[in-house]
Amino acid sequence: MLRFLSKIGPLPALGIQLAVLLISFQLYQEFYSPLILFLGAIASIVMLFVSYRIKNFLEAIPTSKVRSVAMGMAELKGEASGETKLTSPMTKTKCFAYHYLEQKRQRINNSNVWVTTKDDRKDGYFYIKDKTGELLCYTKGANLDLPGKTIHGFNTKRIETIVTQGTKLFVIGHIKENPFVKDATSSEGYKDLMMGDGEIFIISNNSEKSLRKWYGVATVFSGLSAFGLIVLGFLI
């Protein structure tokens, strides 16, 4: 759970926080116990830490150029390139990686809820290319913060998120040794490296500025929610 939260996108973070608030109020109306509000406050504090931590990483790590990227956490800005080996299930688009979801609307506790009935994700390799070079990237474990295509049906919906050729990307992740290189080359060091899963791994087509702003909003929202739930819990 914590591993999932540590890579959550800014809008899902806001969504989870909103869900925490709504569920806390709904459960309170059912059980009339301030304990529920305190539990909601704890969940909000967890979301506060998660959003702030990601925001802080985005602030602390500079955006590197591919040719000078170093081992450890790094941010890169570039274009997805390479050989597209996968075909997405919904739009049949050639891509490097995809995440496909099928959801069904169900009524649970007097509320309409989207329940996931199929979750299919395929990861793959691609290059992040900028003016100075291209660095291999493996999408496994990444939060694909990319615009998904949605097709609505009767009480159902299908959502597909893909990493395609030429997509402009902002990526934050962990730089490690490239497993495909046996003898390290000395002239272009970045070819011996690869970006992959780490403490935070986000592949986004939003700018760093926008991500920082939204994680900031999620942090403030979680903080205010925690404050409100604690005060309400004591007052009621």
């Binding site: 506060l48 702030y52 500079p62 604690i230």
Partner: protein
């Protein structure tokens, strides 16, 4: 009662903010140190390559002795330098004699065709670009850190916890001279 509860919640959230902001400063500080070490690694690699270049060129008897002596002196000064800023300054002073070596190589077709020399020339130039990129990374990290140290409310935490502004790496006079273009 109500005021007490609200005050308690505010104090609790402030303590929470203090912990988060403090951790944020620690992460940034560690990143500054990492960025600095990354520059040192690149500088060291460049100086090792320059040493190999000098050895390769030494064989050519007519090669400008003055330039080689200057490079050797600068390498010694580099080894003696204790700060990254000092090493960067020596590195920028090294560019002129290195440029001279590469230019004079045009007069020696066999040296120009020497694979080892060509490789070293490419590597030294590539490393210079990487050093420049990493210096930008360092300055960018310091910029964010200094912004946090100076702006409210994080400046309050910085002053309580003793985090102080850091200096950026500025271009030396030699580097400024290098970008002058004469017509």
């Amino acid at each position: 009662m109500v005021i007490g509860i609200i005050t308690g919640a505010v104090v609790g959230l402030f303590l929470l903010y203090f912990v988060m902001a403090y951790n944020g400063f620690v992460v940034m500080k560690n990143n500054i140190e990492r960025a600095k070490s990354n520059i040192d690694v690149m500088l060291k690699q460049r100086y090792d390559e320059i040493g190999k270049l000098v050895e390769t060129v030494k064989g050519y008897k007519k090669y400008e002795k003055k330039t080689l002596t200057k490079i050797t002196k600068l390498r010694k000064a580099f080894e003696a330098a204790s700060t990254t800023q000092g090493k960067l300054a020596i590195n920028s002073r090294m560019n002129a004699p290195l440029g001279n070596i590469f230019a004079v190589a045009e007069n020696y077709p066999d040296l120009k065709a020497n694979e080892n020399f060509k490789h070293l020339q490419e590597r030294i130039s590539a490393l210079e670009n990487e050093i420049s990129d990493r210096r930008e990374d360092y300055n960018s990290t310091v910029f964010e850190f200094n912004n946090k140290v100076q702006t409210i409310p994080s400046s309050l935490i910085a002053s309580i916890a003793g985090f102080k502004e850091r200096d950026m790496f500025k271009a030396s006079e030699e580097e400024k001279k290098d970008v002058k273009i004469s017509f």
